[in-house]
């Protein structure tokens, strides 16, 4: 039986660790800031398609950056944690905490991105910002759920960062395509009724990766 308390403990434990060695957080934020700034120097007045492509490239690499260290505690710590919580509780706690940091970093990168690069010229000035932000948030959460699971696999193979990218990038494509489409419709100022099926798509991809992870994680984690 899943214990909410255990999940909460894992979640809070992760956040406390992040807070104590704030370098982790700071690295992710600085990474997206640098990449965004670099992009803003390289391109001026991008078209909506280019704008979205750049934004999602930045978001996906920030998410990878965060996921890389999701399971990066050492073996000894996990021996201890495994005594206390069920693997499922560990996975869910970790997924929640990493999706939360991915969400925050994504929103901050989006803020920086729209600050330095601005919105594409062709888009309507009355463009509703809320649908765009919702699409980006749901998309980045869905990305982080998939990434959390591949990060667990990579952690079992001594946490090799490039192995992590190889394993996860092909698996991220369904999420990425749905999110790209949702944010494109939002950027072009489409009506909510046309966007929300894609939000449901993003949510169901979240659910799918979490469900798959929940089924497979106990097999992965036993040693």
């Amino acid at each position: 039986m899943l214990r909410v308390k255990a999940i909460k403990t894992i979640f809070l434990w992760d956040w406390e660790l992040e807070y104590r060695r704030s370098s982790g957080w700071f690295i992710s934020l600085l990474f997206s800031a640098i990449v965004t700034f670099l992009t803003s120097l390289l391109i001026k007045h991008p078209s909506p398609n280019t704008w979205l492509a750049l934004l999602w490239m930045i978001l996906i690499f920030s998410a990878l950056q965060i996921a890389n260290k999701t399971f990066s505690a050492n073996e000894g710590q996990y021996h201890y944690i495994n005594q206390l919580v069920h693997p499922l509780e560990l996975l869910i706690g970790k997924s929640l905490s990493s999706s939360f940091s991915t969400l925050l970093i994504s929103l901050l990168s989006f803020l920086l991105f729209s600050f330095w690069i601005g919105f594409p010229k062709s888009s309507d000035y009355s463009m509703p910002l809320i649908p765009l932000i919702v699409s980006i948030s749901l998309g980045s959460v869905a990305l982080s759920f998939t990434l959390c699971f591949t990060s667990a696999i990579a952690a079992k193979v001594d946490g090799n960062a490039s192995l992590m990218s190889i394993l996860s990038i092909p698996l991220l494509l369904p999420t990425l395509l749905v999110s790209l489409r949702a944010s494109k419709l939002a950027l072009l100022g489409e009506h909510i009724e046309q966007i929300y099926p894609l939000w449901i798509g993003e949510l169901s991809l979240c659910g799918l990766s979490l469900a798959l992870g929940a089924i497979l994680f106990p097999y992965l984690w036993r040693s």
Partner: protein, 221 residues
């Protein structure tokens, strides 16, 4: 030789002969290239069948150690061999498709959902082989790669099965383009197409099981 192997040989031989010699509908643009249907499409059916079996073997492996008994590493080996042969079939399907695309669409490669799906499938399974090769310990390798196989297969099916239907595409069966069965796969073509599909699946299965037996012999040696 077992009956299913003989059936496979006969069906593939028949589909090759009938595929080149039988009468086909005359259609604009497609012209004689419609015969590629007998060679290009069965490759994908075979790939999916072999990957499906690879998935089944991975699940069986994960379940094998449950009751405290020893895990069966051969099941994982089988999953690997079926996935390898499936990738050969996916490459064959890709090349036959590229030739067909050049003849009808005028280019070898376009950014089409079906083509992207193939590229992603190849990447996913290449990652699976990379993952396998980067783990030394046999049991750990089997466990991690089986887990990845199951996870990746489901997301791949989402990608190649559902997403192309959401976007526009030149490929038959997508984005408003009717699949062959709707208008021009006449009964004459079905008589060659279905045997070709079953024949190639049997041949693919045979190749995979030979590879698997070879691997087991190597392991025992």
């Amino acid at each position: 030789m077992k009956a299913w192997k003989v059936t496979g040989i006969i069906l593939v031989a028949y589909s090759m002969y009938a595929g080149l010699m039988s009468d086909v509908p005359r259609l604009v643009i497609l012209n004689e290239t419609i015969r590629n249907l007998y060679f290009h499409v069965p490759m994908w059916f075979t790939m999916i069948a072999l990957l499906g079996n690879s998935l089944v073997q991975s699940i069986r492996f994960l379940l094998s150690g449950q009751d405290g008994s020893k895990v069966n590493l051969n099941l994982d080996l089988k999953a690997k061999n079926f996935a390898e042969v499936a990738m050969i079939f996916s490459l064959l399907g890709l090349f036959t498709g590229m030739i067909w695309a050049k003849a009808t669409w005028g280019t070898y490669w376009t950014s089409d959902p079906k083509l992207n799906g193939t590229a992603v499938t190849l990447l996913i399974y290449l990652a699976y082989f990379v993952l396998r090769s980067s783990i030394e310990d046999f049991e750990k390798r089997a466990r991690l790669s089986s887990v990845y196989n199951v996870f990746a297969f489901v997301l791949m099916i989402v990608f190649i099965g559902i997403l192309p239907r959401m976007t526009e595409s030149l490929h038959p069966g997508n984005g408003g383009n009717p699949a062959f069965s709707n208008y021009d796969l006449d009964s004459g073509m079905r008589m060659v197409f279905y045997p070709a599909v079953f024949g190639w699946i049997l041949i693919g299965w045979w190749i995979s099981s030979i590879r698997h037996r070879l691997d087991i012999l190597k392991k025992e040696k």
